[in-house]
């Protein structure tokens, strides 16, 4: 099964296309941002935010638009790492770490394995559904509405604060003991579920009609 997946060429293409993208769009944008920071129009954290946001959105777009599934998965990684950067901006290193480890490391790998095991690469029908244009329209409206609603609120002018690591841990394990237990059970359920479904005895499966 594994030999069917042309890993090297994929990565080549990703690197090339990624490089071109960053070069063609990212560079001018970066220059503009640096200039803006230099002239004091925006602060340095803002510049970082914009860069991270740019990566996040671009990655998200890639994830939902790219026809190639592996590309999409890799775009997702970009997004998730960009999100982790945002977490850093929000002063929560711990969560940024978790994000990178769990998502970038665990989940994406899991998804990639899933993709491989389902032969998604070779499946020509796995593209976008017919309702894509309508979905695009709908989601644009939705995002617009969401943002309108969000920005209509008076959020004041707060600033971000660092949460001390020990406090975080103390609160988590002292007050939120029950959620942790629940999550433990939850993970147990998830494992059970995955096992049950993946390990379904062949006798339990219906005869495949090919």
């Amino acid at each position: 099964m594994l030999k069917r997946i042309p890993l090297p060429s994929q990565f080549d293409r990703i690197i090339i296309s990624g490089g071109i993208t960053v070069g063609a769009i990212g560079l001018p944008l970066g220059i503009v941002l640096v200039a803006l920071v230099a002239f004091g129009v925006i602060s340095a954290p803002e510049m970082v935010f914009f860069v991270a946001a740019f990566i996040v959105i671009l990655g998200a777009l890639g994830c939902v638009l790219l026809p190639n599934i592996v590309h999409a998965a890799l775009s997702l990684t970009a997004t998730l790492i960009g999100v982790a950067a945002l977490y850093l901006l929000l002063m929560s290193e711990f969560l940024a770490l978790v994000q990178v480890l769990v998502y970038g490391g665990g989940v994406v790998l899991l998804l990639l394995f899933g993709l491989m095991m389902t032969n998604a690469q070779d499946d020509p029908v796995v593209t976008d559904g017919s309702q894509k244009p309508f979905a695009f329209l709908l989601v644009s409206l939705l995002i617009g509405t969401f943002i309108t609603l969000l920005l209509a609120g008076d959020w004041g002018n707060p600033t971000a604060h660092v949460v001390p690591f020990e406090l975080f841990g103390e609160r988590l394990f002292r007050e939120f003991a029950v959620p942790i237990i629940i999550v433990a059970v939850l993970l147990d359920v998830a494992i059970t579920g995955a096992l049950v479904n993946v390990h379904t005895a062949s006798s339990d499966l219906p005869e495949e009609s090919e």
């Binding site: 969401f146 609603l149 008076d154 629940i182 059970v185 939850l186 359920v189 998830a190 479904n197 379904t200």
Partner: protein
Amino acid sequence: MTDIFGQTLNLNYVLLLPEIVLLIFSMLVIGIDAFKRQLNISGNVPVGLALAGLVVALTLSILQVNMDEDFARLIQVDSFTSFFRILFIAITLVLIVGSHEYIEKSVSHVGEFYGLLLLATVGAMLMASARELLTAYLAIELLSFSLYIAVSLARSDRRSGEASLKYVLLGGVASASLLYGLSMIYGVTGATQYHEISAVLSAGDTGLTTPLLLGLVLIIVGLGFKASAVPFHMWTPDAYEGAPIPVTAFLSATSKAATIALFLRWFGGPLLPIASDWQFILSGVAVATMVVGNLVALQQVNIKRLLAYSSIGQMGYMLMAIVAVGSGFGSDATSAVLVHLAGYIITNLLVFISVTHFFNQTGQEEITSFKGLAQSNPYLALMITAGLFSLAGMPLLVGFFTKFILFQAVVSAGHLGLVTVAVVASTVSLYYYLMVVRQMYLYEPEDGTEQWRLSLTGYVTTLALFVSLVVFGLWGTPLYAAADAAAAGMF
């Protein structure tokens, strides 16, 4: 113990004993089942263990009926919680007793299945008892995860996996929506504790009305998905059809009841101060649910899909009552919802267990396959008829009483229009229930169909449910009193 702010935390684990017992037993069931070949034990051990756990948990819950205490400000064990604990445990108990033959015959991974049922029960119980958003969210996920898997466990049925996939993917979208909504609530109030949220919201204008509204919308979407409210209901018929029948029953009973419990906890608690903001959203959803659920049910040919749409319609009535909760009739409306919920669950269990036994015998689930049941098994036909009539709110059965109380509460809260829609929808529903009744009573059975009997446990469970159906239908006082006490605990 104290928290980081120096406030005392009540860590009295006795409060959580029923849940803990169920967790332990579920692990035991799963564990023992995994090694049953090595341990060389009979197949009856998992079910025995599961029942034992349920009985113990039920006993403990009953012992805690009069308690009103919180656990680490996350879980509130009050009469409302007790009501739902007892309800949920009873549901699982009845389901397992009533349909264990089916489970052993038509479910793969029996041990895991029982374990998952217990875990789902725990999730449902926590949903009813949570007093903090995160706990509530995790409880929802615990219930949902267990059900995602349970749905996929029908042996030799391609539909099972498909149902599970639909359920899990759409469930993911819904819980993302729910979370987004919760984040808005959190952002606006800065709290996850119900009472703190309530305090902030009742204190007056936060200047963040629109984000709050967005949050409300998404919470209603998220919970509406679990409650199968239109237009978030579309997974329901498919999941119901694909799942093993006891799981379908569980979906229609525990899952729905837990969602309603959460609705009540949230909309009757922290979100009550802004009732006018969510009432109109919920009314719209409720109306759509009642109408679509009952209309589409008219056209169904599969009994499980029919019951799915019927339960969608039923959820519409309850959502409507939750609108009434916001109109200053909180306690009355809540107790009415609880009465109706209990009645609906008793009825639904009767129907589903009967259908389970029918499926055991015939392997059919088309409505037309019920042809002549009144002659091949008059007892079962009577049970199904009673159940369906009760669902339609026909008199002498519990459905009539509970619907009467429910609708009355909504009208008393000033929502006559909603009730009018509900009554019309409930009349429409009678038609499709009669379609089933018609098959059973009007037609002769297929040639060669012999008279057959249920198993002993089948008789016991159905009869018990039938008796409560009639008794509560004619004398609803115990039900209503319990619901009233439960509602009083919440308000």
